[in-house]
Symmetry: C2
Subunit: 209 residues, 2 copies
DNA sequence: GTCTATAATTTGATAGAC
DNA sequence: GTCTATCAAATTATAGAC
């Protein structure tokens, strides 16, 4: 809010308008399903400018995808505040994952789809991203089990379950909304907050029931 | 196995070869990302034949999508064997969902993506499919709660969690495999059987812990 | 940097021989 | 029913004016 904060100035550059538009279109339609024309229209500029800033469709896609993957893996492995007790840390982790998913609901499907079509997109990049990561959530859990703080369990399976419970409700929201509205008479609304609560309940019951 | 069974004869018709190829390509690339050329190649036939059997790309896609949606909703709501106790029924349900997902791992993403791009695909068809359905899983759970057989809970939320735990591991398999292999030293393999077991554990803990 | 015009490919679809 | 040849439209990409 200070006058020195230069967000208004740096926000509306053409390159950023293109990147934002590309993000939107690529996330929805994927690499092969997207049209440069659509991206230009969404950005409110001319097609030729896309090629001026990014040589080709593939280059533009690569830029968008790299950014997305980086952001995704970063939040997936962000397990900070090592001073806090494990339950608190897990709760914070779920909070972070949910804020991330509320901002980018289609991020997981985007990554998953594009990787399934083009596996080298993943292989080429993951190892690089690994380097600047700290200790992983799995290793933390393993240590807590050794210490006896939480129940013995398959930590990888726990992580799979946890992310399933967080991500899928966002990506399957349109389907769930329809099915639930039809079958569940007193179903109020599709609420991320309620879903988040149920994830935390799952954690609590898994760690020690 | 009887000689009267005519499966060999009816299997390799051109129309079926096209439909199988279309299923494969559309599921992977979506409507806009798929190329008729690819479908023809996958089917091992000529492009022109696609238009001979199905008027247009849209018609062909519609056929594939309708079939997929029907199959998906059918298994999502198949909750038979009403004579069995509720825990047994839920276990069978999970078994069915897993066999379905092992056969069609990308089915959920396919439906979800195409519906998010083209919402009327869903709206136009779901109501029709609803008609021949029996009682839904949610209504069964509500009744069991009334009877006191299971703990009081938000049944819609339970269904969301349940499907998240089943579907997401299949669709995110490539990602999980990579991340786990890197972070989890003694991680053997990505096993659907183990994941299924954890889903059943979730059910047990949720119904009454 | 941004636009218009246009080239070069790709892609959905059809006509017509067999 | 199946194929080859081909058209028309769409799509990526570039050239050149401003």
């Amino acid at each position: 809010m200070k006058p020195s904060c230069k967000m208004a100035k740096s926000k509306d550059t053409t390159e950023e308008k293109i990147l934002n538009a590309a993000k939107e279109v690529f996330m929805k339609y994927g690499l092969y399903g997207s049209r440069m024309h659509d991206i230009a229209d969404t950005a409110g500029i001319n097609k030729a400018l896309l090629h001026y800033y990014f040589r080709s469709k593939e280059k533009l896609f690569d830029t968008v995808f790299s950014g997305a993957l980086h952001k995704y893996l970063q939040q997936m492995d962000a397990f900070l505040d090592s001073s806090l007790p494990i339950r608190q840390r897990l709760n914070n982790y779920v909070d972070n994952v949910f804020s991330f998913l509320e901002e980018y609901p289609q991020m997981p499907v985007f990554i998953i789809k594009e990787v399934s079509i083009n596996p080298e997109l993943f292989r080429d990049r993951v190892d690089v991203l690994k380097k600047d990561k700290g200790i992983s959530i799995i290793q933390v859990l393993e240590k807590e089990i050794e210490l006896g703080t939480i129940r013995k369990m398959d930590t990888a399976l726990f992580l799979i379950n946890l992310h399933s419970l967080c991500s899928y409700p966002f990506l399957a929201a349109p389907i769930f909304k329809h099915v639930l509205k039809a079958n569940h008479k007193n179903w109020e609304e599709y609420s991320p907050a309620k879903i988040k609560q149920s994830v935390k309940q799952f954690i609590e019951r898994t760690l020690l029931s």
